[in-house]
């Protein structure tokens, strides 16, 4: 014969556990339903909404490549690149070689078969032209 106390506790405990699990399961199902209702897949966002929560990397966007003596030179900055591209070819080469490739006037003069002094003069003159052009176009000088 089973102990009536044990029987009673077993019944209470069994009922309690079943109730707890059932209620919790219903609660979780509710929660899932609510989440489904409010959640939106990233794929469904409009481009406008998407732009609010994302960023796009801008590497290489304002970089321009020039060719000098068979080498490619990368110039960063749209306005600067535009100014350089507007220079005549001999002046442009001097600027690129001396400021972007770091060559001395003597090296440039050897490469271009011109005397050194004329390279130096051409460079000074071109720099002035560049400056005038950039000021006219409203170039913002980077802080140094």
């Amino acid at each position: 014969m089973k102990d009536p106390y044990e029987q009673r506790v077993q019944n209470q405990f069994g009922g309690f556990c079943t109730r707890v699990l059932k209620n919790e399961a219903a609660r979780i199902h509710n929660e899932y339903a609510r989440q489904r209702e409010r959640e939106k897949s990233l794929d469904d966002l409009s481009p406008d909404e998407l732009s609010q929560i994302t960023t796009t990397d801008t590497y290489f966007e304002d970089e321009h490549v020039f060719e000098v003596l068979g080498k490619s030179v990368v110039v960063t900055g749209d306005l600067l690149a535009e100014a350089i591209s507007k220079l005549p070819e001999d002046k442009r080469d001097v600027i690129l070689l001396s400021y972007f490739l770091g060559m001395s006037d003597r090296e440039i003069s050897e490469h271009m078969d011109v005397v050194r002094q004329s390279i130096s003069k051409r460079r000074a003159k071109t720099l002035k032209e560049l400056r005038e052009y950039l000021v006219k176009e409203g170039f913002e000088w980077p802080e140094i």
């Binding site: 506790v9 309690f16 707890v20 059932k22 399961a25």
Partner: protein
């Protein structure tokens, strides 16, 4: 005796209420099947086929809730 296999012994219930780990594990084991049944959810695959799957997340939450309730909420009522 065969019927007793389906019911938890009194001693285990009493220990579980006190928070004994082994006893609680035995209770969880006892309700394993029911918990799995409750945590069953229909799942759609990429081809639109529906399967019934046990939601692991939900299963664990049910287990945790049961343990918590037994320890904090269960009182043996007087006759």
């Amino acid at each position: 005796m065969a019927g007793d296999m389906n019911v938890l012994p009194l001693s285990v219930i009493e220990e579980a209420i006190k928070g004994d780990g082994d006893a609680l594990a035995a209770v969880i084991n006892h309700y394993k099947g029911y918990i799995r049944y409750l945590a069953m959810r229909p799942l759609k695959d990429d081809y639109g086929n529906e399967y019934l799957c046990v939601d692991e997340d939900m299963r664990l939450r049910l287990e945790a809730k049961l343990i918590h309730s037994i320890v904090t909420g269960f009182k043996i009522l007087p006759a």
